[in-house]
């Protein structure tokens, strides 16, 4: 049973205990709990329409009436706090009459759409009418209907967003959608208009309901007023069954349910499963609609082998045999050191581990990695950046934090779930949020302070905060002195100047971090993708050390993708973390001795033809890795390329062998979220065509080499468990680290800093294959501030040429609601857009120039 946010708040306030009696049963709860929540604890479910465990109660529907002794009127239990000695009756005659009246009122104008309404079978109104309502209606008038220019019949169905269909007639005005939209997501694209009984919930004038969480509004609607296009008219809910699973597009490990028809092997929708410590029941649209890639008709169904310049269908036997033959050849001629492998970090533990084991024990090479979306990774496994990525972090602890610093992270594009959690901490529990990013981000709408530092000056900002703390005497003076000498520049004011922020911002943040009793620091993609990630990590470590963060909170660079944590812990890097490496050495007869190379190094060696073969288990480096030309050249020089994926991509088109990969819904697997929590995603549907899960591909391939990977599934699991049981404690530096802040110059010719990011509705290269997600955003664009658009004289939707030092693309303009500086954003999730051609691997800050197309 979900814990409500109000109960969380009551626990925090710890105001004492209250004992009351409900329907003759006594219960003791924390002060501040509502009567409804107390009844829930007793297993008494008071009917409601407008109550939601995670949104503030408003007492609007009046369905949750209870009779409380000594109170003359019925009380709304969702909003009445318990008091000592209260005696509550949830089912007295007066309460029954009250509920009947409410149902009668709601049904008065409610259309009898049940036969054609998607909500039938899971409709709160249907259920509560049967349980508490009247058989007959006294209402003898024509039911009120909404009509306007677009709607001329009584069947009012208006598409108010790419996914959401609104039927105003069915709305019972519980206001859950607008309340959740505003409180939980911070969005205002849905509102209530007019008043009284002609109130209508509708999209804001001139806007569509297309925020990154819009799908939740449909799930939260108790009736069929808001429905999803992807579920519409497809199946009745009672003909479906559910399978529990985990989201495969984000790193939070959001708990989901697949709804499927057991006879048709088809998934119809995804809904939440509510895990109080992870997702609170909210799903990002990415999570909700991403499943459509599973059922897409574009899925690869058969292996392909390149014959005479064309990719021809083949059998698994042929394909695996071919791979075995080619790998053996290359290994014999040049050695295993020329073979490399990249796995996509959204695969399950078994697939990733099998991949790792295949390369280490069968091919005998260390050229493996999973981070094919980054540039220039640190070579050493004990780098500060890697350590920061592995710091303990609990999503639940965000709720308890007084101070939350979001550094270098555009949450709405990277960590949808954590953004909602931070909003909740701010709205309900009074947390103060501080945001520091190089461009204006939406997530800063809950921030007490939003700082925007100059692109590429992350360390200067962090150093500045530390120096401000030392200068203002907020930390131990001795510690401060020892520390000051290690930072350049050495004063808060100088750092502020370098970073382009006011020194007061730094002082404010320093004070907050020093005085906050529980602090959460989150660093994100902007840090992770930066060439200088190690320096920034050093600055973050210094910050953590100075403010004693590990002891009074949590600080981490949040992992991304469904199972990066798993990949890291299962040794899927060229040089694994020492305890992991030791365990692998213990498990394998001969741990390969060849040098370890990260992705970037591997690609560089491919260019030099020192690595001649690559096996890709998922992934599309040609379109996702920065500097397209570099990757393209590297791949074209390869002698042998195998690509496994769900869909055809530019990378698979260049592969000699293409193998169809299973999606995460087609087999059971374990995934580790950014907290290090292992969760199981179950099999929902059978594999499409001849697609196979990664683990099966690797084990089948290993058998070809006469070196089977595992004796049994149990054996495999035991090896995985051995690795996962290693305590993943990555020590942060024992002392303060010297950090010299850079001041990157942006070329005058290419004046606009460019950040390659994910569209809020997309992640990686697979999500665009979901029709619903593509409806939200289907092609690449350049997002810029309205001010910049004005200066360049470009309109929303018009095409522009975007050029960097090494590449150019043509994309349409999207005028941003949040950006307000010269920084521009481009999403990299859309095939064929080639936006990674603009990125330079070795530059600290990418920048571009923009010209109108007709010039």
């Amino acid at each position: 049973m979900q814990k409500t946010t109000n109960e969380q708040l009551a626990e925090k306030r710890a105001g004492g205990e209250v004992t009351l009696t409900i329907d003759g049963q006594e219960i003791t709860v924390t002060k501040g709990t509502t009567v409804l929540e107390a009844a829930r604890k007793l297993g008494i479910h008071i009917p409601t329409f407008c109550w939601h465990p995670k949104v503030k109660s408003v007492g609007a529907c009046r369905m949750c009436y209870v009779q409380i002794e000594k109170m003359p009127k019925l009380a709304v239990s969702c909003a009445t706090e318990v008091m000592e000695g209260m005696v509550v009756h949830t089912d007295s005659d007066m309460v029954k009459a009250g509920r009947k009246a409410v149902i009668e009122f709601i049904l008065a104008n409610h259309p009898l759409d049940c036969p054609t309404c998607d909500k039938g079978g899971e409709c709160d109104l249907q259920n509560l009418t049967f349980a508490h309502g009247v058989d007959d209606s006294r209402f003898a008038f024509r039911k009120m209907r909404f009509t306007d220019d677009t709607v001329t019949t009584t069947f009012d169905d208006v598409k108010i967003g790419p996914e959401i269909v609104l039927n105003r007639n069915r709305c019972i005005l519980c206001y859950k959608c607008v309340r959740a939209n505003k409180e939980a997501f911070g969005e205002y694209d849905l509102g209530a208009f007019e008043r009284g009984n002609i109130t209508e919930i509708n999209s804001a004038p001139g806007e569509a309901v297309d925020n990154p969480y819009s799908g939740n509004l449909v799930e939260i609607c108790p009736v069929g007023a808001l429905t999803n296009s992807d579920w519409r008219y497809k199946i009745r809910v009672w003909l479906t069954t559910t399978t529990t699973s985990i989201c495969n597009f984000t790193s939070s490990g959001t708990n989901i349910l697949f709804w499927k028809d057991p006879h048709k092997n088809h998934i119809y929708r995804v809904t939440s499963r509510c895990h109080d410590d992870i997702d609170d029941g909210w799903l990002a649209d990415l999570t909700r609609y991403g499943y459509q890639i599973v059922t897409s008709r574009e899925r690869l169904t058969k292996p392909l082998i390149m014959k005479g310049g064309k990719q021809v269908e083949a059998t698994w036997d042929e394909a695996l045999g071919h791979i075995h033959k080619r790998f053996s050849e290359i290994k014999e001629k040049k050695g295993a050191v020329c073979i490399s492998g990249l796995a996509e970090p959204n695969l399950d533990n078994a697939s990733l581990y099998a991949f790792q084991k295949f390369f280490r024990t069968v091919l005998r090479t260390n050229n493996i990695d999973f981070r094919s979306h980054y540039r220039y990774l640190p070579e050493t496994p004990d780098s500060m950046f890697t350590a920061l990525c592995a710091q303990p972090f609990r999503i639940r602890d965000i709720d308890d934090s007084e101070v939350i610093l979001v550094f270098g992270s555009d949450l709405i594009r990277e960590h949808h779930n954590e953004y909602l959690r931070i909003r909740k901490a701010c709205n309900f529990f009074g947390a103060r949020v501080y945001s520091a990013t190089p461009y204006a981000v939406k997530a800063a709408d809950v921030a007490t302070l939003e700082s925007m530092y100059r692109p590429g000056t992350e360390e200067a900002f962090l150093n500045g905060v530390c120096l401000a703390a030392v200068e203002d005497g907020l930390v131990d003076a001795r510690v401060g002195k020892e520390f000051q000498g290690k930072l350049k520049p050495g004063t808060a004011a100088a750092c502020a100047e370098l970073a382009g922020v006011g020194v007061d911002d730094l002082k404010l943040l320093a004070r907050a971090l020093a005085e906050g009793k529980k602090v959460t620091v989150i660093a994100g993609e902007i840090v992770a993708r930066s060439r200088a990630r190690e320096t920034i990590a050093a600055a973050l470590c210094n910050l953590g050390r100075l403010f004693s963060l590990p002891s009074k909170g949590q600080m981490a660079v949040l992992a991304r993708y469904a199972n990066s944590v798993g990949a890291e812990r299962l040794g899927l890097v060229s040089e694994p973390f020492a305890p992991v490496k030791a365990e692998l050495e213990a498990m394998y007869e001969q741990y390969p001795e060849c040098p370890a190379r990260t992705t970037d190094k591997m690609l560089a060696l491919m260019k030099k033809e020192e690595i001649t073969a690559m096996f890709l288990l998922g992934g599309n480096p040609l379109e996702m890795y920065p500097d397209r030309e570099f990757v393209s050249e590297a791949i074209s020089k390869l002698d042998f390329l195998v690509a496994c994926d769900l869909f055809e991509t530019e990378t698979t088109q260049r592969a000699e062998v293409v193998l169809p990969l299973c999606s995460w819904a087609e087999y059971a697997g374990d995934y580790i979220n950014l907290e290090g929590r292992v969760q199981r995603a179950n099999k929902a549907v059978n594999a499409v065509g001849e697609a196979r899960p990664g683990v099966e591909i690797m084990t089948a391939l290993a058998r070809r080499f006469d070196r089977p990977l595992f004796e049994s599934d149990v054996h495999m699991q035991s090896e995985i468990d051995r690795l996962l049981n290693i305590e993943d404690v990555r020590p942060l530096p024992a002392d303060f680290v010297e950090v010299v802040a850079e001041s990157p110059e942006i070329a005058k010719e290419y004046p606009y800093p460019l950040y390659l990011c994910d569209d809020p509705h997309h992640s990686g290269h697979l999500s665009e294959k979901s029709a619903s997600l593509a409806a939200f955003a289907g092609e690449a664009y350049i997002e810029l501030s309205s001010e910049l658009a004005g200066r360049l004289d470009v309109a929303d939707g018009s095409s522009v040429r975007v050029e960097s030092e090494i590449g150019k693309v043509i994309v349409p303009v999207k005028i941003s609601e949040h950006l307000d500086s010269e920084a521009v954003l481009m999403p990299r999730n859309f095939s064929g857009s080639g936006v990674n051609a603009l990125m330079m691997r070795k530059k600290r800050v990418d920048s571009v120039k923009i010209t109108k197309l007709d010039e």
Binding site: A60, M63, K73, F105, F141, L173, G196, N197
Partner: protein, 445 residues
């Protein structure tokens, strides 16, 4: 645009009276200027308060005076001020409720148009009493002239040093904002008013938490009516004892009653509480009797939401207690009189239409119930009433009364229940004979 309301008042009587004080200068065409206001002794109370009274003293004085909220609820003003938690670190806010929309009520309008500084002075004293440094006046959007006058008065008050920083050198800062509503009766309800002031939709909030603890921006807020606040300077100047001697024991002071309907001399009349209703309607100096010298049929004593009084019930003093004894309420003091040629069903139709139109739509019973009731009553009034309609109406009223977030639901059904109780034969006649029982001609024959 904005027009000046040429309503009749008993200002002449007030000018020479020792007891009446709200309307003393209300016919003076310059009274709205700060200069004339000061000449008439204005801002002396504010100066007195800042010169040496502690906030607790101010609250005690107003408590002892027995002043009750003049907006309709009649809650003791001093007691309301004392609800603001002393220990709260949050800023406090005072909001003057000038969203006068109760049908029949037009008294606040006169005070704002003609004596705006009295309102400002009262607000200032109230703000000081609760420790507020930013006060608001929420004026109904349709009151163009009031808004102009209040904004002008505010500007003058700042210029003359009655508002702003370090007023009179006392060290107290006080700022004032004039806020305009968008045209909603519901925004006269304090929680909906606060929502509207915050920029949200004017929907009511559930209470608890009460505004005095969590109001505007979740900070302690006091919402008072225009007339209540305009009374405060007089209480400070002349003392709580003086005020307590006016009116009755439990309903102290004076009140402005808006008399309208089928009377010869409709207008705003300031009288002591406890003043006989009959006198107010018939006396030469006030209502002057029924229009056309017809027989009285019924009176709404305190605004559209109060139960009716029949002619045999109007021998009552206009104070809070006496009207409760007659199963009605003093409310906002809007007295609507109608004579024998008025169809009660028609009156109720007008009222329920108003409440349905103004319902905020948040809670189910009021939103759906008022709409349903209006439809039934409209049908009856049009001559299409059916057997069982009255039972349905009574049942629906019972499902709305006491079941809503704010009193608008109660306000909507109480007149209906009262009309059914007092004139049931008329309703039954209307249904059976499909026409009015009375020879009613709308509106002024």
């Amino acid at each position: 645009m904005s027009f000046y309301s040429p309503v009749r008042t008993n200002a002449a009587e007030a000018a020479s009276s020792d007891k009446l004080h709200l309307f003393k200068y209300v016919e003076d065409p310059e009274q709205h200027t700060v200069k004339r206001y000061e000449e008439h002794g204005g801002y002396a109370a504010w100066k007195k308060v800042l010169a040496g009274m502690k906030p607790e003293e101010v609250i005690e004085t107003v408590k002892n005076s027995g002043l009750r909220g003049r907006g309709g609820a009649g809650f003791p003003t001093g007691v309301k001020w004392s609800f603001v938690p002393k220990a709260s670190p949050k800023p406090r806010y005072l909001c003057c409720n000038a969203d006068e929309s109760e049908p029949g009520t037009c008294k606040d309008r006169v005070l704002m148009e003609r004596d705006p500084h009295a309102v400002i002075e009262g607000m200032a004293i109230g703000a000081y009493a609760i420790g507020c440094h930013l006060m608001f006046i929420y004026i109904r959007g349709e009151f163009g002239h009031c808004i102009e006058r209040m904004e002008q008065a505010r500007k003058e008050a700042y210029e003359a040093g009655h508002l702003g920083k370090n007023i009179y050198g006392s060290g107290y800062d006080l700022d004032m904002i004039v806020h305009t509503g968008g045209g909603a009766y519901i925004c006269g309800e304090e929680t909906a008013l606060l929502n509207s002031l915050e920029g949200e939709k004017g929907l009511s909030r559930i209470r608890p938490p009460f505004p005095a603890v969590e109001g505007l921006y979740a900070c302690p807020t006091i919402v008072n009516n225009v007339e209540s606040l305009a009374s405060v300077p007089h209480i400070i100047n002349r003392g709580a004892d003086w005020y307590r001697k006016l009116g009755t024991e439990k309903s102290t002071g004076t009140k402005v009653f808006s008399l309208s309907g089928h009377v010869k001399q409709p207008g705003n009349y300031e009288v002591e509480l406890g003043f006989p209703l009959k006198k107010l309607i018939y006396d030469e100096q006030y209502g002057g009797g029924i229009l056309g010298d017809k027989k009285l049929k019924g009176v709404i004593p305190g605004g559209a939401s109060t139960p009716f009084l029949k002619p045999d019930m109007i021998d009552v003093g206009l104070d809070y207690e006496s009207l409760v004894e007659q199963s009605s309420m003093l409310g906002s003091g809007a007295i609507i009189v109608f004579h024998e040629d008025t169809c009660i069903v028609w009156v109720i139709l007008k009222l329920i239409h108003f409440f349905r139109h103004e319902s905020c739509g948040k809670c189910t019973p009021c939103r759906e119930g008022t709409g349903w009731l209006e439809q039934i009553i409209r049908r009856i009034e049009a001559g299409e009433g059916r057997k069982g309609d009255l039972e349905t109406i009574e049942d629906l009223c019972g499902n709305i009364l006491g079941r809503t977030i704010c009193p608008l639901g109660d306000a909507a059904v109480m007149p209906i229940q009262s009309a059914l109780r007092l004139w049931r034969e008329e309703w039954e006649y209307h249904i059976e004979n499909k026409k009015c029982m009375v020879k009613s001609h709308f509106p002024f024959k």
